[in-house]
């Protein structure tokens, strides 16, 4: 009954004149994706080249970009947001990913008990919405409630406590660390999965050669999970340069104090949508979105062509 070979199957398929079903299968996804995602994206990029002059929508070339970089008021806001965004990203790379890798390494130790429980607990914050995460931490860090000073007292560091979210010098770091707390589950899970995929034989061979413990982790396992570390880095990059929600919930649309926590997402929101006294400006909003697009695109290209191809992949 089923002795038709695959070659004959494709032969039969080739003879059929028009295969409408392919179109039917593809159409809904392609139409929605194109109409709601790709076209608005292109249209937004296009609008960054237009502005309203004397009540008319006209092509202005790169004038919007010139305003963004040249007008001192815009430029200072923009560079501030971009700089903050880089700090935000670097804190994630320096804190979130190493801790995520370390937790994954501990979880993947053979014969560890309660591993499922720990995994579930570590991943929970990732599922909570920004609103919950933002406000919970705002309450905990609030000097009014006093939970944070009390906890720091336990480890004898009460004197170091301050209203971190309210001070320009520490607000950005604090918000970044809250975001790290929220998203640590993602690098942990991806690295954990990669570590589990390392075959037994490789580990056994290392043990026979006397490589165990720390040496085994750094010399054997870490090089093998480098592709996964590449993936978490690019995911962190895209997520961070597109972030908005946490800053908005914790510090409001003005990203206070004194724009110390302003990142590109909140800058885009204020510019495009307007806030309090500031009127919304679609053209400048589109311009900022275009810059964000270019930054993310650059990051993705560096990853795809620069990093991903160079990382050696081991086939097991």
């Amino acid at each position: 009954m089923t002795d038709l070979s695959p070659e004959q199957g494709t032969e039969a398929a080739r003879r059929r004149p028009r295969r409408w079903h392919i179109l039917v299968f593809l159409a809904p996804a392609v139409i929605i994706y194109t109409a709601v995602m790709i076209l608005p994206l292109i249209e937004t990029l296009r609008q960054s080249l237009f502005n309203v002059v004397d009540g008319e929508h006209v092509f202005v070339g790169f004038a919007n970009f010139a305003t963004l970089f040249g007008d001192p008021r815009w430029a200072s806001d923009f560079w501030n947001a971009l700089g903050n965004n880089f700090v935000f990203f670097l804190i994630h790379m320096a804190v979130q990913n190493p801790i995520g890798v370390a937790l994954a390494a501990l979880l993947s130790l053979p014969g560890l008990r309660f591993a499922a429980f720990y995994r579930t607990a570590f991943f929970l914050p990732t599922l909570l919405s920004f609103v919950i995460v933002g406000f919970i931490w705002k309450l905990i860090l609030s000097p009014i409630w006093g939970v944070a000073p009390w906890l720091m007292d336990l480890v004898g560091m009460k004197s170091l406590f301050g209203p971190w979210l309210g001070k320009p010098g520490s607000a950005l770091i604090t918000v970044s660390l809250v975001s790290v707390w929220q998203f640590i589950g993602i690098p942990m899970m991806l690295i954990y999965a990669a570590l589990l995929n390392i075959p037994e034989e490789v580990i056994e061979a290392a043990e026979i050669d006397g490589i165990t413990g720390w040496g085994q982790f750094f010399k054997i396992k870490l090089p093998l999970v480098l592709p996964a570390i590449g993936i978490i880095s690019i995911l962190t990059f895209v997520g961070n340069f597109n972030a908005f929600d946490l800053v908005y919930t914790m510090q409001g649309a003005l990203a206070g104090p004194d724009k110390a926590t302003d990142i590109l997402g909140t800058f885009l929101y204020r510019t495009f949508f307007g806030f309090q006294l500031q009127l919304g400006d679609q053209s400048m909003g589109a311009t900022i979105a275009t810059i964000m697009f270019l930054i993310i695109l650059t990051g993705v290209c560096i990853y795809l062509f620069g990093i991903q191809r160079r990382i050696r992949r081991y086939q097991f």
Binding site: F25, V36, L128, I144, Y248, A289
Partner: protein, 279 residues
């Protein structure tokens, strides 16, 4: 003997580290929930105690249920999330099947085109998206959110599902063809049931960002009748910021559905991630 003791020591150190981070991960949530059941005095007086008979109070929940329209918000979030997931799974699986099953001109190109959305966030098109929604009269409707979230979820869904569909045996499909099944019947009756585990994984991945999103509800559907739980909680807490009972109760109410779903689906979710569904 000493080696055994050494490894025991090592294991306990590992557990100490893991328990320490478990506390870091769970403590804030725990703190919020226990304090939401306490009177205002107790919240400030003894924030770390469990609610006792003298400190127990539901005043926060009463305020939330009286003042905020959380039932509507909850309904909106549920409708948006469920409909979006359904569309992502249906349309995503159909497209994934077309890409995985048939050879046609432009197959690879179509796959790449659909994959752009995995890396480029849909938010960057917000300016034109809002104009489009205004032009079509979809602002302040749940349809707008469903459309956006469907478009947002499709790329990853297609990517993951087509990987899985390539593993479905050709013999099975060809047997179906010989028995006279149409291509549609092969997809719906043979292939879909076989990729059900992958569909569950995709559903969970799609659900989290939709349920938690603040950006699009804020911009596309801020009206009272279309607010989602996330936006509703944000605005409610903003208004009641000095009423700690109400804030803590609202937070606990927002955490609750996530916790329940997580307990039910955590196995599925973690298996999905660790089986390499997101490579």
């Amino acid at each position: 003997m000493s080696k055994a003791r050494q490894s025991k020591l090592r294991t306990s150190l590992v557990h100490v580290a893991l328990i320490a981070y478990t506390l870091v991960a769970l403590f804030p949530v725990f703190l919020t929930i226990i304090n939401s059941f306490k009177s205002k005095q107790a919240i400030f007086g003894q924030p770390l105690r469990l609610p006792g008979p003298s400190t127990f109070s539901l005043i926060g929940y009463e305020t939330v249920l009286k003042q905020g329209d959380f039932v509507t918000y909850f309904q909106n979030s549920t409708i948006v999330t469920v409909v979006s997931i359904f569309l992502v799974l249906l349309f995503g699986a159909m497209a994934a099947f077309a890409l995985a099953e048939y050879r046609f001109r432009g197959n690879t190109l179509m796959g790449l085109y659909l994959a752009i959305g995995i890396m480029i966030p849909i938010r960057l098109g917000t300016v034109a998206l809002l104009q489009g929604m205004v032009a079509t009269g979809l602002v302040n409707t749940l349809t707008a959110l469903v459309l956006v979230y469907t478009a947002q979820g499709l790329p990853l869904a297609i990517f993951i599902l087509s990987e899985f569909m390539r593993t479905v045996s050709d013999d099975l499909k060809n047997a179906g063809r010989i028995d006279g099944l149409s291509e549609y019947a092969i997809f719906f009756r043979l292939v879909l049931p076989l990729v059900r585990p992958a569909m569950a994984t995709v559903a969970v991945f799609t659900m989290i960002p939709i349920w938690n999103d603040l950006w699009f509800p804020l911009i596309l559907a801020p009206g009272e009748s279309t607010k989602t739980v996330t936006l509703g909680a944000q605005l409610f807490i903003g208004q009641f910021v000095t009423n700690w009972n109400a804030v803590l109760a609202a937070l606990s109410l927002a955490i609750f559905p996530v916790l329940v779903l997580y307990v039910i689906f955590s196995r599925q979710l973690i298996r999905g991630i660790t089986s390499g569904a997101v490579k």
